[in-house]
Amino acid sequence: MATINQPRSETAGKQYKVLGTRPIRHDGADKVTGRAIYTNDMQLTGMLHGRILRSPHAHARIKSIDTSAAEALPGVLAVCTGADFPDVKDKIAELGEGAVNLAHLSANVMAHDKVLYKGHAVAAVAAKSPHIAEEALKLIRVEYEVLPHVLWVLDAMKDDAPLLHDNVYTEELGGKQSDKPSNIAKHLHFEQGNVEEGFAQADIVIEREFKTATVHQGYIEPHVSVALWNQDNRLTIWTATQGSFTARQQTAEVLQIPVSNVTVVPCEIGGGFGGKISIYLEPVAAILSRKSGRPVKIVMSRAEVFEGTGPTPATFIRVKLGATRDGKLVAAQAYLAYEAGGFPGGVIGPGCMCVFSCYDIPNAVVDGYDVCVNKPKTQAYRAPGATQAAFACETVIDEIAEKLGIDPIEFRLKNAAKEGTRRVDGPVYPRVGFIETLEAARNSDHYQSELTGPYRGRGVASGFWFNVGLKSAASASVNPDGTVTLVEGSTDIGGTRTTVAMQLAETLGIAAEDVIPRVEDTDGVGYTDVTGGSRVTYATGLAAYHCGLDIIAQMKERAAILWDCEPDQVEFADGTFTGPGQSATFKELARRLLETGGGIVGRASVDGGGATNGFGTHIVDVEVDPETGKVTILRYTAVQDAGKAVHPSYVEGQMQGGAVQGIGWALNEEYYYDADGRMRNASMLDYRMPTAYDLPNIETIIVEVPNPKHPYGVRGVGETPIVPPPAAIANAIYRAVGVRMRELPMQPHKVWKAINSQE
């Protein structure tokens, strides 16, 4: 584990007392003793258990639903169907990272007249035990008219494909719509320079096609919600969500009730990776609670999680790159078709924006298509859309580098995006750290080491994610003993209570342990966007920093009272207030707040703005078994620019966890469908995410090129690490056995077939 500092701005090289240390997380004891309360641990008086009936068909019209037998079963207290949901009009709601059409959201939560994928919810039951609810589901009679379905993006784009929605038209650039309904909901187009002239200048042009499979985020905690619709019409929801405020907004809209009637309590959350931003169970539990007059808990089974919640899409991608003999990229073209799932609005946007985001290419064109298919509505998954795009682009980059006889890292260095580079979708990068990650990768022990042995190869790939800013609020109150209680709204999925608290501690000159962080519900803290987009340590950290400045300003006033001077005569540095002939540490002054006017509360609500730009480069050594095609990871190193690593262990953890999700995506994971559109591997055993035994340790190198937009240089780190692995592994397989893999996942049978169909 290494950290490389790259001091390049005025904040760099600064010595910190708290940032860069590795304190134990504030919620740690609760989480290793089993005391932490996750949503499924909630028990309310009189609580019922809900279960959801789901469509067995990939595409069908609902002709009728008869729930009378279920309602008559002893122990059943409420049943609901789409008919219990209010009519929700087309309206786009911004959810921080991504947006949703609320009419589609409502129909996804509970099918109204059509089911669009196997697993689509059609009815729900609340009963005195989960077993009774399960029995009741079997008594619900649904009459379907089965319709032809379509399961692959390119098939769905054909003129004669089964149509999912008769009110979805292709939206073109500038808002123009197609004449007739289509599965293609959107066509995106970006360009810069002149791509034809660019390719004409190229000495080498390579164009390749790629396919990637549908994969799931795979969080270990299933979706779970508890709702209590009280007799005063106030609705309280305890739920596993990445964003309590966006869950509140979506739930209120789907139920057509005032947002202020809903309180969302974020419990501890067992992973999300983008998949716990959209709501699923919240309004269903709420309606069952309203109908029964009792609190209702719904927990999804693992099969429901796979079949009923957002995977991230299967894709078809074509990438064409042109370079000069000396290794300069001069033109790029990409065609990306991403499955949206049953409803429009997939992750094609970021896919298009990320496909060439690592490189400075003067001429480029990108076309992207958002396409409905009869699969679950796709959702974000860690750097949504970017991993598929990078698999394509980074594999072609590797091929060009190899054909030109240039080392793959050197080739990337020649073309690396840097300050001033304009991305194809428009933005011009500020100071970014891509070059530094490439240099660190090139100089690493791993890359400098020799890899020997048959069927072994080393691959390299890079990746980019924007890292979003968005909105966060926080407040902090000073306790008489000099500790500070920090109230924030960011659900803590991976240690952000601590990384945010550390920034407040740094600002106030106190220890990380002297900050007591609390994640509050939607009535206890100001508006805060989702935990996603790699934004919490950056933007909620920014809010904590401003809380700290607010506290310092107020404490200067108190010191002035005590010292009989003007507030502007009081200075604060290194945790100590200094006035004319007087000084007091933060703790000493905290003790005297009650005698100088009462307690102090600092507050801040910030908009972290747009991207902070995270780049990473990964190196992987693989061994391929030529007899079975099985790929074994021998060594893996992830390099990333974190801006400033607030808690280096957590940065390493994000890099390692993201890399391993990417390894699973590369080698094992896919939704395997039969001809009827039914997922045949909807269990963790058959879906086969990586286990400890599949992997080596994941080495990490943290590069720190401070983010100019953050006082401590923080960039956020969570998403970028999932982007490079599939391409890095494909490139390593090529070096090992001489075959280019262009389809994910690269399971043994595909690798074996590729090896055995070689000349």
Binding site: T33, G34, G270, L695
Partner: protein, 160 residues
């Protein structure tokens, strides 16, 4: 609802009796009847290991054990790992080594790792990866979990 069955067990060193239906899993009884919610449900079909408990000293997925099968058995859950006011070295090493992110798989890993160290106090990295292969973690990539178990083994050996 079926007839309830009386079961006598020892859980975390204390005698515990409960009533359950024949169809209820040990996981369901631990969580919903006995309110020992430290044991987590991840898949309810024995694939993820989040619900791992020790049954007569052996790690099992409690979602695959019927509660009635626990008659006369000794059960250890995550709630029983800490000793009095002190965390177990595994718990301490998980915290110091940042071996958890969301924490939902952590109880299962701690119980499975304790079973490993109970039988093999000096496991190799390969031993740890093999023995913990029945527990899935989606956050950490396992690196820090494996290192935390190694650290705990060393710490326990040093204090022996």
């Amino acid at each position: 609802m079926g007839k309830r069955i009386h079961v006598t067990t020892t859980i975390n060193g204390e005698p515990v009796e409960f009533l359950c239906e024949a169809r209820q899993s040990l996981l369901e009884v631990l969580r919903d009847v006995l309110r020992l919610t430290g044991t987590k449900e991840g898949c309810n079909n024995g694939n993820c290991g989040a619900c791992t408990v020790l049954l007569n000293g052996l790690p099992v997925d409690s979602c695959l054990v019927l509660a009635v099968e626990a008659e006369g058995a000794t059960i250890e859950t995550v709630e029983g790992i800490a000793c009095g006011g002190h965390l177990h070295p595994l718990q301490q090493c998980f915290l110091e080594g940042a071996a958890l992110q969301c924490g939902i798989c952590t109880p299962g890993f701690l119980v499975a790792a304790k079973a490993l160290l109970d039988k093999n106090p000096n496991p190799s990295e390969r031993d740890i990866r093999f023995e913990l292969a029945g527990n899935i973690c989606r956050c950490t990539g396992y690196d820090k979990i494996v290192r935390a178990v190694q650290d705990a083994a060393q710490r326990m050996a040093a204090s022996r």
